[in-house]
Symmetry: C2
Subunit: 246 residues, 2 copies
């Protein structure tokens, strides 16, 4: 009789080919499944709340997994942290109902994109920020962000040109704040399309440096055309902060 466990996972995605398991490549899902399969003695399958791209980080990705183990949650956590590499940590292990599904049951996600806008190079957290070429105007970015909030067809902000399912999503808040040399963009929504947060961040930065006007945002959304939006910001500045469940 297998039990269902919810995991909260933190990782530095720098040296991984993203979350999703890929043959012969290092991925977060692959690393974790390998450790759990060794622990459980049978092949296990990890269900993540979503997929992060190569180089994207997570403070609190969630996943669930069915295990036949008799280990306590504390022991599972300890085992995993011992055998996983230093750049992947299991922050929480919790037994959940048989029916809990980390992806289907997720109701909200928070992503943070961080730009570094200081004079000196960010030596110690260079893998977690994207350096700006010029200093952006935060107020302009906020103005644009407010026009992107809400329920929209985000097709213009979708990195997958072959996306066949609905590209309508609700982004209920985009908060932009400056902390010293860092500009944080916190995106909260019910779900995000491929590269969506990075394209939003790239577009908002273009507004910040005057290459676009905030008023263009509704037109970009209405166009439903990836070419109308800005560039995909680099992966290192992105971090999945939280996944919510009812």
């Amino acid at each position: 009789m297998r039990k269902n466990f919810k995991l909260v996972i933190r990782y530095d995605g720098s040296r991984y080919h993203g979350w999703e398991k890929k043959r012969n490549l290092d991925t977060i899902q692959g690393k974790i499944e390998t450790v759990l399969t060794r622990m459980d003695g049978e092949e296990v399958h990890l269900i993540g709340a979503g997929r992060t791209d190569a180089g994207v980080h997570a403070r609190a990705m969630t996943a669930n997994v069915h295990l036949q183990t008799f280990f306590s949650t504390e022991k599972i956590k300890k085992y995993m942290n011992t055998y996983l590499p230093d750049d992947i940590a299991i922050v929480e292990v919790k037994e959940v109902s048989e029916r809990f599904h980390a992806r289907y049951h997720a109701v909200g996600k928070t992503y943070r994109y961080t730009f570094y806008d200081g004079e000196d190079k960010p030596v110690f957290d260079r893998k977690y920020v994207t350096v700006t070429a010029e200093s952006p105007d935060i107020d302009k970015m906020r103005e644009a962000a407010s026009l992107l909030e809400g329920r929209h067809d985000f097709k213009s902000f979708c990195g997958n040109p072959k996306m066949k399912k609905s590209t309508v999503r609700t982004v209920d808040s985009i908060r932009i704040s400056r902390q010293g040399d860092r500009i944080h963009m916190d995106f909260h929504g019910d779900g995000f399309l491929q590269h969506m947060v990075r394209i939003l961040a790239g577009t908002l930065l273009e507004v910040g440096v005057g290459r676009r006007r905030p008023e263009e945002m509704p037109e970009i959304l209405a166009a439903c055309d990836r070419k109308k939006a800005g560039p995909t910001a680099p992966p290192g500045g992105l971090c999945l902060m939280e996944v919510e469940y009812h």
Copy 2:
């Protein structure tokens, strides 16, 4: 006519074989000299305030270098930051008197050693901390630290068994503080022997976890024998914070 410049340098030492230039190996001094030699057109020699071991970091290492360049200090800084890798940053470039010598004129140094004493693995700053196996008693460590402060022969804390010069140094303060999951040890003194801060940190941690008593410190100093002190703490937890000049 060459001019003398003082540099303040920040680096993540993780992937370097230390500060000092070594043939065919990546070192901080080597990287910087290569860039400056290309800029200046003639071979230049960088004089560091000291040497850091492989894997040790610096927030503000200082060095001086004689250059024939006509570039402004701002332009030198910009050139260097453009051509140096992401894990080495030039924080300041300043023209100084012909006679300024980064090593001989240094009158004080501050090093910080950081232990991580939290429950979860330190995913994002794993290269800048040393994880403790058990939680130490800070008060005991402070008691021991106070017995190590002052002018002493630190031969027991010297990693170089063939050291022929004086091993007498003045460590005027060792401050130990806890910030959340981190335990910081700040060492201030007129100079430090090879591995000295790491051996002090390793010995103080042993006191913290009850493997040694604070009262043993004077005996360890008096023995002038490396074997009497504790282990050399790993390099990643160490960072050179500041070098002082009159």
